[in-house]
C-alpha cells in the first residue's frame, strides 16, 4: 500500500516540479537577459506553465501520415517511464528508499541509456529529416558521454566499495559505520556535516564531480550540449513532429531527467540526505538535522540547486559544434577520468589503509 502511495506522490511531485522548473527557467533566463519573464498569469506569472500545459492538453494530437504509428506513440511513453523508473533507487532519507537494491547506481546508468532508445524511436518514427538528424546526434552524444560519466562514478564507488546508493549515502555522514576522513587526514565520522561529503573525502573527487556534471549536461541534452535539439539548425530536433500530450510527456521527461541526474550527483558527491551542518563541540547540529524529514529536505535542496546550476549554465554558454563536442569527450574527459580511477585505487590502497 505504502509503495503505491509513495510512487503516486513521487509522480505528482515530478509533474509539479517540472512545471515549476519550466517557470523558473523562464524567469531566470529573463532576468539574465534583462527581461521580465512571465508576469501576467498569477502572482509573478507563477501560473503561466499551468496555463501552458492546459493549452497543450487541449491541442489536437497530430500524427504525421508517413510516421511509424506504433513507434511514434511508444517513444514518449518509453522516455518518460525510463526516467521515472530511475527514481526507484534514489534514497530520499535514511529510512526511505523505494528499492534498496545492491546494484543501484549500475541500474541508474542503464536507465539513463534507455532514454536514448526512446529518442531514437521518436526521431526515426517521425519520418522527418530534422527529427532523424537530431536523434542521430543525440545517440552519438549520449553514448559517448556515458563513458566519462560512468568512469567518474567508478572513481567514487571504488572508495565506498558498494553500488547501493543508500549505503553510499550512509558513508558520507554521522550514520556511517566506517571511519570517514576529511582529505585522508582528519577523522570526521562523528563530526559529519559538510566535511564528510564525498568531494571532501579525497582531493580528486571534486574533479570527478565536474566531469560527471559535464557529462550529465550532455546526457540531458542541455546547452551547451543541446545539439540534438539545436533550435537554430534543426527546429526542435527529435521532437519536432510531436504535439499535444505526447509533446508534453517528452517535455516533462526532459525536466525529470535533469532532476534525476542532479539527484545522482547529490547522492554521489554531496552527501545525499546528509546534513551540511557539522557537529561542533557541544552544538550537535548534525545530530539534530539528520532524520527522515530532514533527509528529504536536504536531498531536494541539493538536487534543486544543481538543477539551478544547469539552468544558469544553459543561459550563459553557446552551443558546441559536433566535432568540438566529441573532442571534449574523447580527448579530454575520458583520459582525465581514467586518471581519476587510477588515483582512486591508489588512494584507497595507500592512504585509507
Amino acid at each position: 500500500m505504502a509503495f503505491y502511495f509513495i510512487s503516486i506522490v513521487l509522480l505528482g511531485f515530478i509533474a509539479v516540479y517540472a512545471l515549476m522548473a519550466v517557470w523558473a527557467e523562464r524567469k531566470i533566463s529573463a532576468w539574465i537577459q534583462d527581461r521580465v519573464g512571465p508576469v501576467v498569469t498569477g502572482k509573478y506569472g507563477l501560473l503561466q506553465t499551468f496555463a501552458d500545459i492546459f493549452k497543450m492538453l487541449q491541442k489536437e494530437d497530430i500524427t504525421p501520415t508517413l510516421a511509424d504509428k506504433k513507434l511514434f506513440l511508444a517513444a514518449p511513453i518509453l522516455v518518460f517511464t525510463a526516467v521515472f523508473m530511475g527514481f526507484a533507487t534514489i534514497p530520499f532519507s535514511p529510512t526511505y528508499i523505494s528499492s534498496s537494491i545492491n546494484i543501484g547506481i549500475f541500474y541508474l546508468l542503464a536507465i539513463v541509456s534507455i532514454e536514448v532508445l526512446g529518442i531514437l524511436m521518436a526521431g526515426w518514427a517521425s519520418n522527418n529529416k530534422y527529427a532523424l538528424l537530431g536523434s542521430i546526434r543525440s545517440i552519438a552524444q549520449i553514448i559517448s558521454y556515458e563513458i566519462p560519466a560512468a568512469l567518474a562514478i567508478l572513481a567514487v564507488i571504488m572508495l565506498f566499495q558498494t553500488l547501493n546508493l543508500q549505503e553510499i549515502c550512509m558513508q558520507q555522514g554521522i550514520l556511517s559505520k566506517q571511519k570517514i576522513y576529511f582529505f585522508g587526514f582528519w577523522e570526521v565520522s562523528k563530526i559529519g556535516g559538510v566535511f564528510a561529503w564525498t568531494i571532501f573525502q579525497a582531493p580528486h573527487l571534486f574533479i570527478a564531480f565536474i566531469i560527471y556534471f559535464i557529462a550529465s549536461l550532455a546526457e540531458c541534452n542541455r546547452t551547451p550540449f543541446d545539439i540534438p535539439e539545436a533550435e537554430s539548425e534543426l527546429v526542435a530536433g527529435f521532437h519536432v513532429e510531436y504535439t499535444g500530450f505526447k509533446f508534453g510527456a517528452l517535455f516533462l521527461a526532459e525536466y525529470a531527467m535533469m532532476f534525476l541526474v542532479s539527484m545522482i550527483a547529490a547522492v554521489l558527491f554531496f552527501g545525499g540526505w546528509n546534513t551540511p551542518l557539522p557537529n561542533l563541540a557541544s552544538f550537535a547540529l548534525a545530530d539534530y538535522t539528520t532524520g527522515t524529514y530532514w533527509g528529504i529536505v536536504w536531498i531536494l535542496l541539493k538536487a534543486l540547486s544543481l538543477v539551478l546550476l544547469q539552468v544558469w549554465i544553459r543561459w550563459t554558454f553557446p552551443r558546441y559544434r559536433m566535432d568540438q563536442l566529441m573532442t571534449l569527450c574523447w580527448k579530454v574527459l575520458i583520459p582525465l577520468s581514467f586518471v581519476l580511477v587510477l588515483f582512486s585505487g591508489i588512494w584507497k590502497l595507500f592512504i585509507l589503509n
Binding site: I28, A30, W31, I32, Q33, D34, R35, V36, V39, W312, I313, W315, T316, F317
Partner: protein, 200 residues
C-alpha cells in the same frame, strides 16, 4: 606550452561568462520597467528590455502600410484596384446604374453600384499598389496593425455587399437599360445607313 595557456584562458573565460550572467541575474535595477513613453527609452543602458504589449506599445508611423480600409461612399467601383492587385485578393462585382447615383467627395460622378466589394487580408501582401491606383483615393492603408482572428474567414474584410434580391433587381434594370441602349444604337445605325444610301 601554448596549449596550457589556452586551457587556462578557456577556463577563465567560462567563469567570466558565468559571472556576467550572474551579475545581470542579481540586479533588479535592470528589470525596472521604464516604458516606451519615457524620453530616454532608446538610449538607456539599464532597465528592462521587455515591452509589455499590449499595455505598452511602440508608436507606429501614421503612414504605415498595415490594414486596408476603404471609404465606400467615395468608391466609384472602377475595378482598378482589383486589376492591379498582384495576388488577386480584391473581389469586386459592379452593376451599371441606370442613372448617376451620386458624387464622391472629390466631385467624381458615381455610375456603378458595388454589388460586392471584399478584400481578403489573409492573401494580401501589403504592397500598397491598390492604394496608389485608386483614382478617388478612397482605398487607404491605416496604421492599425494588431488584428487577429480565430476564424480565418474573418480575414476577408467585406466592405460592401448588396442583398441578393436587390442586386438581381439592379441587374435586371441594367440589362433592360442595356437592351434599350442597344436597340437605340441599332436604330441609329440603320438610320445612318439609310441616310448614307440616300446620299449615294
Amino acid at each position: 606550452m601554448r596549449k596550457k595557456k589556452n586551457t587556462y584562458l578557456l577556463i577563465k573565460g567560462l567563469f567570466k561568462g558565468l559571472a556576467i550572467t550572474l551579475k545581470h541575474f542579481l540586479k533588479p535595477k535592470n528589470r525596472v520597467d521604464k516604458g516606451i513613453q519615457s524620453e530616454d527609452y532608446f538610449s538607456q543602458r539599464t532597465g528592462s528590455s521587455t515591452l509589455r504589449y499590449p499595455a505598452d506599445q511602440i508608436p507606429v508611423p501614421e503612414v504605415g502600410r498595415y490594414q486596408l480600409d476603404i471609404e465606400m461612399d467615395d468608391c466609384i467601383v472602377c475595378d482598378l484596384c482589383a486589376k492591379i492587385c498582384p495576388v488577386d485578393c480584391i473581389d469586386i462585382e459592379a452593376i451599371k446604374a441606370t442613372e448617376d447615383i451620386g458624387k464622391t467627395s472629390d466631385g467624381t460622378t458615381k455610375r456603378l453600384h458595388a454589388a460586392k466589394f471584399s478584400i481578403d487580408m489573409g492573401k494580401c501582401m501589403f504592397c500598397g499598389l491598390c492604394t496608389v491606383v485608386c483614382p478617388t483615393e478612397c482605398l487607404v492603408m491605416t496604421s492599425e496593425y494588431d488584428r487577429s482572428f480565430t476564424n480565418p474567414q474573418e480575414l476577408n474584410y467585406v466592405f460592401a455587399e448588396m442583398p441578393e434580391a436587390e442586386a438581381a433587381q439592379k441587374r435586371e434594370l441594367a440589362a433592360v437599360a442595356e437592351q434599350a441602349k442597344k436597340e437605340a444604337k441599332a436604330a441609329a445605325l440603320a438610320n445612318s445607313a439609310i441616310n448614307k444610301e440616300g446620299q449615294i
